[in-house]
């Protein structure tokens, strides 16, 4: 493990002119954004607006057609630069390996890279699972966990990397309101505790306004506005207002 593995301070992230299309359909149309070190940055947008695709570019799971991504000012162009920074993605589904126990999932990064002895890995796994309130789930299989527990286990797995940047893909989707608050609190707690930069992709308005330092709204592959929660709430654009204030028509 690198020497700075225990020094978990967040990194800054800059995206310039990111473009991506699939089968002739433009999904990202020149995305520009800047995330400051240590902040909680939420990207909001309706389903199909390109949020998850953007996230996959940031972690290196997709190659952009055009545009650049910088981490702490360094262009994310080679695996060496990507490997220099510790980034973790918490998947929408959790993406725990179903053939492994929760404990094995959480310790997988350390086990596979052989950076710590088995006893130490066991301790770290217990510690991270305790941090997310899943101490008793260490020997359970992922299919024995609820949706919220899976997401917390996925967060524990991300924490083992001691990340400088955590990306969350729809962390509260498919969760009841109480579990959603627990996950939101978890993101806030991590941010305060280890000063990690958190980039959250979500269409959950309550989560975004509850935890974000800044919010970007993406619609049809374009960033429409970026600002503090209050600035975004008051942003005068029909598309943004339509998304943020969407409501049922029962009283009308």
């Amino acid at each position: 493990m690198s020497e700075n593995q225990n020094n978990s301070s967040g990194v800054g992230l800059v995206v310039r002119g990111l473009r991506k299309s699939f089968g002739g359909q433009d999904v990202l149309k020149g995305v520009d954004l800047e995330v400051k070190p240590g902040e909680i940055f939420v990207i909001m947008g309706p389903s199909g607006s390109g949020k998850s695709v953007l996230l996959k570019h940031l972690i290196g799971l997709e190659e952009p057609d055009a545009g650049e991504i910088f981490i702490n000012g360094e262009p994310l162009t080679t695996p060496e630069i990507a490997a220099k920074y510790r980034m973790a993605l918490v998947f929408q589904s959790g993406a725990l390996l179903n053939s492994l126990t929760v404990g094995e999932n959480v310790g997988l990064y350390l086990t596979e890279h052989r950076w710590k002895p088995a006893d130490e890995i066991k301790k770290i796994v217990e510690e991270k699972l305790t941090d997310v309130g899943l101490k008793d789930a260490v020997n359970k299989m992922p299919n024995e966990l609820s949706g919220g527990m899976k997401k917390r286990a996925a967060i524990a797995r991300a924490l083992v990397i001691e990340p400088q940047l955590i990306l969350y893909d729809e962390p509260t989707s498919e969760l009841d309101p109480v579990s959603a608050v627990v996950i939101g609190d978890e993101i806030l707690d991590l941010n305060h505790r280890i000063h990690v930069t958190s980039l959250v992709v979500s269409h959950d308005r309550d989560l975004a306004f509850g935890i974000a330092d800044r919010i970007a709204v993406i619609i049809d592959g374009e960033i429409v506005t970026v600002g503090t929660p209050d600035e975004v709430k008051n942003f005068n654009d029909p598309r943004v207002k339509g998304f943020l204030h969407a409501d049922f028509k029962r009283d009308k």
Partner: protein, 245 residues
């Protein structure tokens, strides 16, 4: 199938590059090896016994009628060792293990588990493909050796008990030893090693390129089995014609 042949060769090459890390994956190799052997042994036993039996039944009476009873052991022995055991076992394993490989890796791909590995800088080829290919390339030749022995036994039982042959057990094996050489068995085992690599690489590749949901997984499983079998038959001819004359 043929449009993916380049990708399949590339996957094989990338797997070869991860070979130096085999020791680190020894637990997974052993798990896969146990899975393949344990899952297939009974099936191999039944299939091989009856293949041997039916070959003896089909060829024995004709040879005996023509006063060639001493050739029955050799015909059954050669047919099983050089052709039937390697090919039939490869087809069985393609259906039994290749399908499982494609389904498991395919569902990991669909449910983003492979993406999760990549985000942790864990190479899916090293973690998933290498142990499976190593395990199958050791297990299949061993199963073929077992299959050859059981097949010979099946042929001997029928030759002994069938009233149109009535070739005693000891005579059958003495005739077999006169014709079948160790090299014939080695040829079959070498073929099965090649077939194992085909099954492993084709099935893992099919799993890794799976898209869609359960239907996509089902499609991958079918393609893995069909493509493996087609390639096995083609390579069987090529190996027999050019290498193992």
């Amino acid at each position: 199938m043929f449009e993916n042949i380049g990708e399949i060769i590339l996957l094989f090459w990338r797997t070869l590059l991860t070979l130096p890390q085999t020791w680190r994956q020894r637990d997974k190799v052993f798990d896969q090896f146990f899975e393949i052997g344990n899952a297939s042994l009974l099936m191999v036993c039944v299939l091989s016994f009856f293949i041997g039996a039916v070959i003896a039944l089909q060829t024995g009476p004709i040879l005996v009628e023509r006063s060639l009873a001493s050739a029955v052991g050799g015909v059954v022995g050669i047919a099983i060792a050089k052709e039937l055991a390697p090919v039939m076992m490869a087809i069985l394993i393609a259906g039994r293990i290749g399908s499982a490989m494609a389904a498991e890796i395919g569902s990991m791909r669909v449910y983003q588990e492979i993406d999760a590995l990549r985000t942790m800088n864990i190479n899916p080829i090293h973690y998933l493909v290498l142990p499976r290919i190593l395990a199958i390339s050791v297990a299949l030749p061993m199963l073929v050796v077992f299959s050859v022995l059981v097949g010979w036994f099946g042929g001997a039982v029928v030759a002994d008990m069938n009233h149109r042959m009535e070739i005693p057990f000891r005579v059958f094996f003495a005739d077999l030893r006169d014709i079948v050489e160790l090299k014939d068995v080695a040829n079959g085992v070498f073929k099965s090693f090649c077939f194992a690599i085909i099954i492993g690489v084709v099935s893992c590749h099919q799993g890794l390129v799976t898209i869609g949901g359960p239907r996509g997984i089902g499609r991958s499983v079918t393609k893995a089995v069909v493509n493996s079998i087609v390639l096995i038959v083609i390579f069987d001819y090529i190996l027999t014609r050019f290498l193992l004359k």
